[in-house]
Amino acid sequence: MTPHANSALLAKLYRSIYRIRRVEEEIERIYPTDKIKSPVHLSLGQESVAVGVCAALHKDDIVFATYRGHAAYLAKGGDLNRMIAELYGKATGCARGKAGSMHLIDRAAGFMGTSAIVATTIPQAVGYAFAMRYRKQDTVTVVFFGDGAVEEGAFHESLNFAALKQLPIIFVCENNLYAIHAPLRDRLAGAGLCARAQSYGIPAKRIEDGDTLALHSEVSLAAAEIRAGRSGPHFIEAMTYRYVRHVGPGDDLFLKYRSQEELDAWKAKDEVKRLAAMLGAPEAQRIRDEAEKEIAAAFDFAEKSPFPSPRELEENLFHA
């Protein structure tokens, strides 16, 4: 797609994707110890979507995502220590242990939160984009959601309103072909996901194979158009694939809802490996070494952090 992507961009993308891959592999490794007392919906295999999209955004652009939100949180610049501590339920977590894996937030990084109720962050992101326009700020808001969310009414209501008001938002559908164990082909009537967005007059593009660079360039273009006031919302259908089970670590091929061949075909085009190869060995190795240190330190930070005090149970329900 972008054969001559510059090496600074490649390094940035590889750093981001490798870090996310390894963080989640560590989560998988630690999970059986039960130190992480929170359901985890891993992005293993899907990292490139968050990486390609977020690398094209400004620091103060806003991202909303889903319970499968580790990748988006990290790609947008969410603090790693505070994420791992949150998974451990520690007071140093990004929400002092009250949120867990499914509700990550880092306001300083423009990561506004995630939800365990499918499709609910879509209207929130549209509302945020509405506020940015209302305040005449040139912030772009991005919302990630799964292919399952497209079936919810809130998706359609949100796209309609965003298109009606020409709001500065990019809708990114992470189409991993399944909602839990249900394949998209068994759930979808009509012409596909992009066609749904197009029916609201929203420009829509499907990116194949989790192509990080293609996602990056597509979002860069969309964001530039939005910032220049030349367009309202954009829709991107990012084809991707989840390597592990819907929730929790490990393989789920024994459930037989998908095939070894399908999984292998996606693993053969793994974006972590592809970007490493494009970047070249010495640079990639340097990035890996750095990331390993940072990740080890983050788990160490979480291990050593205290749990919240009992007094915190009833705190933060309301704002004064």
Partner: protein, 351 residues
């Protein structure tokens, strides 16, 4: 708007509060089905778009679910949305966003975000509104930690609660009973807040505490007049806000009277009346004997035909009879006479 006594209607009080807050804070905006139409939500949002611009008072697609989430998103970004629903019943389509998102955001994110949003719902009773256009459903919202619920009755409290709700940094469900809209009362012209969590003792009495919610306050005042004729002194309390709920004021009254009758503008089971009575019993059991009872809608959906609809709702007479029974004992020993509810009897459509 104001008469010589400084009085305006409940609807005008809501309008005045909204205008004053929109003037004070450029982040306040109003949206919902019909808010910028020529009726302007019974006058409460009339022509606000002409005054403040189309961004700040706009109609929406028929998308209550997403439009609630959109308000939440705008509130997360620092704006102060007021989402208006012509009937409380439509709030059922907003439940996902209100219960799962708005009520949770502050707590779940350990106070790092806030949702300063007002959700106005009008209780549609008049005549013939039937099963799906007349519900209150406030118990649903009271049940959920993280939501505030208010139901002001007087024009004074309508204005003060609206201003407090707009300034509140949390989601507030604001209940307005249609039959209160034309009531007049003194309303200070300047902006002021009526604090949540403080009940009002509207009239004092020694024999029975009568807690009434929303429009039932008007009926409770009528019941009090009936009961005065037979020498029964009733203390009428309007909680004003249901969440938070001022149980201290209610308990202080019950301490004196030893009797509590709660009349809700809703069904009784699992409702606000159940909650108020449970909390009262918890406070007094083993210390003081108290008599408790509650009244509410008949335990069925609201029928439209007038003779059945009249039976469905409580009124001054049914409340008085129940209170009489609690104080003197003996149903049927007394029949209240006097005026019936004018706003109900005199209501003319079309909607």
């Amino acid at each position: 708007m104001r008469n010589a006594a400084g009085e305006i209607t409940y609807a005008q009080a809501l309008y005045e509060a909204t205008v004053q807050e929109m003037e004070r804070d450029a982040g306040v905006f109003v949206y919902g089905l019909g808010v910028d139409d020529p009726i302007g939500m019974y006058g409460t949002t009339l022509d606000l778009h002409k005054k403040f611009g189309a961004d700040r008072n706009f109609d929406t697609p028929l998308s209550e679910d997403a439009m609630t989430g959109i308000g939440i998103g705008a509130a997360l970004a620092g704006l102060r949305p007021i989402h208006v629903h012509q009937r409380m019943d439509f709030l059922m389509l907003c439940m996902n966003q209100l219960v799962n998102i708005a009520a949770k955001a502050s707590y779940m994110y350990a106070g790092q975000v806030q949702v300063p949003m007002v959700v106005r719902g009008i209780i549609g009773r008049s005549w013939g509104q039937g099963a799906q256009h007349s519900q209150s459903l406030h118990a649903f919202f009271m049940h959920v930690p993280g939501l505030k619920v208010v139901a002001p009755v007087t024009p004074h409290d309508a204005k003060g609660c609206m201003i407090a709700a707009i300034r509140d940094n949390n989601p507030v469900v604001f209940m307005e009973h249609r039959m209160l809209y034309n009531n007049r009362g003194f309303v200070p012209p300047e902006a002021y807040e009526v604090p949540f969590g403080k009940a009002r003792v509207l009239a004092e009495g020694d024999d029975l505490t009568l807690v009434a919610i929303s429009h039932m306050v008007v009926e409770a005042i009528r019941a009090r007049a009936h009961l005065a004729e037979v020498g029964i002194g009733v203390e009428v309390i309007d909680p004003v806000s249901l969440a938070p709920l001022d149980m201290d004021t209610i308990a202080r009254s019950v301490e004196k009277t030893g009797r509590l009758l709660v009349v809700d503008n809703d069904w009784t089971n699992c409702g606000a009346s159940a909650e108020i009575i449970a909390e009262t019993v918890e406070r007094f059991q083993g210390k003081r004997a108290v008599r408790v009872a509650r009244l509410g809608y008949a335990p069925v959906p609201c029928p439209t035909t007038k003779p059945l609809e009249n039976l469905y709702y409580q009124n001054g007479r049914t409340i008085a009879l129940k209170a009489y029974d609690m104080v003197k004992g003996g149903v049927g020993h007394w029949e209240p006479h006097g005026e019936d509810a004018k706003e109900i009897a005199e209501f003319k459509g079309p909607f």
